[in-house]
């Protein structure tokens, strides 16, 4: 078995202790949760932290609870499997269970955590490769080189590695807020603002910050949500096109006259971040959904998706899947219309 590089392994028992250790150990340290994302990369030699800080011994980080004033609080170590079956989630935000279920395989969901999914490293054919493979060519930008090899020009100074998580786009669509803690203090960040769109530095979390909590606001409870995912092998792979939709349909009548409210469409696997399609709310809020509007929305989503040839699937096909999934997502919303308000 190809061994991992050596590291010092620490198991703090409180979150403040963890934050202090992370600060003391400098930039060459990393937090490990389920390890399903970082351990394969460490084996490939993509990065090799000196210090790995486990959060497993810290109590209550797996808790998922409903708070009547604030909403749903998810601990960063909650496994994706635990979200699939959690009663509060199934009651208030079933789309979270749906998205968690779309991740990887049963074994991976048993190990994978919410914190790791949100902080997931971006992926790229030129980045997720062994050291031997890397040694055959100049390093890509994300590995410290000069240019992004995935960009069509081959000379781009921006990294186009892909954000490939399933749960994170749904949490963005649900307006989730996260708490980041470091020895310097604590801050709250809207998940939507967390992602930068730069594949080399995909989020604004400082190296010494730990994600300690996810809050899905109470006001979002009961909103309709759906997540659609396209991948190469339906049983294990990362998304190469994903669509998360949340919206309310308000109105007295049957589905046709119901008016759209609070719509949000987020696409995943086709950019360096979970991409909020900003033109969707002005197009749809306050209107009744019909075929022409849905077609227009699907075209907007397709246009916003800019997949490159740096992950599975063919580019045009992935764009088309964003279009198809967007249509399907809105159709599901209409079909559920009688149940939502």
């Amino acid at each position: 078995m190809q061994p991992l590089p050596n590291f010092q392994y620490l198991e703090p028992e409180t979150i403040h202790e963890a934050a202090k250790l992370l600060m003391d150990s400098g930039t060459q340290s990393m937090v490990i949760s389920g390890g399903t994302d970082m351990l394969p990369s460490m084996r490939q030699g993509i990065f090799s932290p000196d210090v790995v800080i486990s959060l497993q011994a810290i109590p209550h980080l797996r808790d998922v609870e409903w708070d009547d004033t604030e909403g749903l609080k998810i601990g960063p170590l909650a496994t994706l499997r635990s979200l699939e079956t959690n009663a509060e989630i199934l009651q208030h935000f079933p789309v979270i269970a749906e998205a968690a279920h779309a991740v990887g395989s049963p074994q991976l969901r048993e190990m994978a955590t919410v914190g790791g999914n949100i902080c997931l490293d971006t992926r790229c054919y030129y980045y997720n490769q062994s050291e031997n493979w890397q040694a055959c060519d100049q390093e890509c930008l994300k590995l410290g080189g000069e240019t992004c090899k995935a960009a069509p020009s081959g000379r781009a100074k921006k990294c186009f590695a892909v954000f490939s998580a399933d749960l994170a786009p749904v949490l963005v669509a649900l307006d989730a807020r996260i708490t980041l803690l470091s020895a310097r203090g604590e801050r709250h960040v809207d998940l939507r603002e967390f992602y930068t769109g730069d594949g080399a530095a995909p989020h604004v979390k400082a190296p010494d910050e730990i994600l300690t909590s996810v809050l899905v606001p109470k006001q979002m409870a009961g909103i309709f949500g759906v997540y659609q995912k396209y991948r190469i092998r339906n049983s294990i792979d990362y998304p190469i096109a994903g669509v998360a939709l949340t919206l309310r349909l308000n109105g007295p009548d049957k589905s046709a006259k119901k008016l759209v409210k609070d719509v949000c469409l987020v696409i995943s696997g086709v950019a360096s971040k979970p991409l909020v399609v900003k033109k969707i709310p002005p197009l749809l809020n306050g209107k009744a959904l019909d075929d022409a509007l849905i077609e227009e929305a699907a075209l907007l989503a397709k246009k916003a998706a800019l997949p490159l040839a740096n992950t599975g699937g063919e580019r045009a096909h992935r764009k088309q899947m964003i279009y198809e999934f967007t249509k399907k997502a809105f159709e599901q919303a209409i079909n559920n219309g009688s149940q939502i308000s």
Binding site: P3, L10, Q107
Partner: protein, 175 residues
């Protein structure tokens, strides 16, 4: 156990070995490992139980599946240190000496194993399934085995094996 005393102080690049007490198939094994050692390496190389297979080493194929506190887990991407004190079961736990258990017998009856490389992982995922759901449907079985790849059988005989093992009308094919 003095290796563990510096648990929570940052100490440069030092990666001291640790003595771990691992509970594997109901037996406690004391092993000394560096933190970088995977559960799979600990089971195969330190403890010498080679039933668990080393396939893709990247979390994709499921050949390394073991049960950790009853849940199917990929031992190739799980650190041994994180599994101290947990109840780990490997494929060696299934048979009683030379007597295969009902699930293993069903795999033989149905041709659910060919080259056999995926079989230990398949058996552990199937064991976890049957412990939770003694009468799974074909669909339940397909879902439970999504993380276990097989290059030989085409899967149908594996699903039949589990249906036979759960006593759901599938009769042994090879007698």
């Amino acid at each position: 156990m003095d290796q563990i005393t510096d648990r929570t102080t940052v100490n440069g690049k030092k990666s001291r070995s640790r003595v771990l007490e691992m509970s594997i198939n109901g037996e406690t094994h004391e092993i000394t490992v560096k933190p970088r050692v995977m559960l799979l390496e600990a089971i195969r190389d330190k403890i010498g139980l080679t039933g668990t297979k080393d396939g893709c080493e990247s979390g994709t194929c499921g050949a390394c599946t073991v049960l950790v506190d009853g849940q199917p887990t990929l031992s190739c991407i799980s650190l041994a240190v994180e599994n101290e004190g947990k109840d780990i079961r490997t494929v060696e736990d299934l048979a009683d000496g030379d007597n295969l258990n009902f699930l293993q017998e069903a795999f033989l009856d149905q041709g659910g194993t060919q080259c056999g490389f995926c079989t230990p992982g398949m058996l552990m995922s199937a064991t976890a399934l049957l412990e939770k759901n003694p009468k799974p449907t074909r669909d339940d079985i397909n879902k439970a085995l999504e993380g276990n790849l097989c290059r030989c059988t085409g899967y149908n005989s594996i699903v039949d094996s589990i249906l036979q093992a759960s006593d759901q009308g599938v009769k042994p094919r090879l007698l």
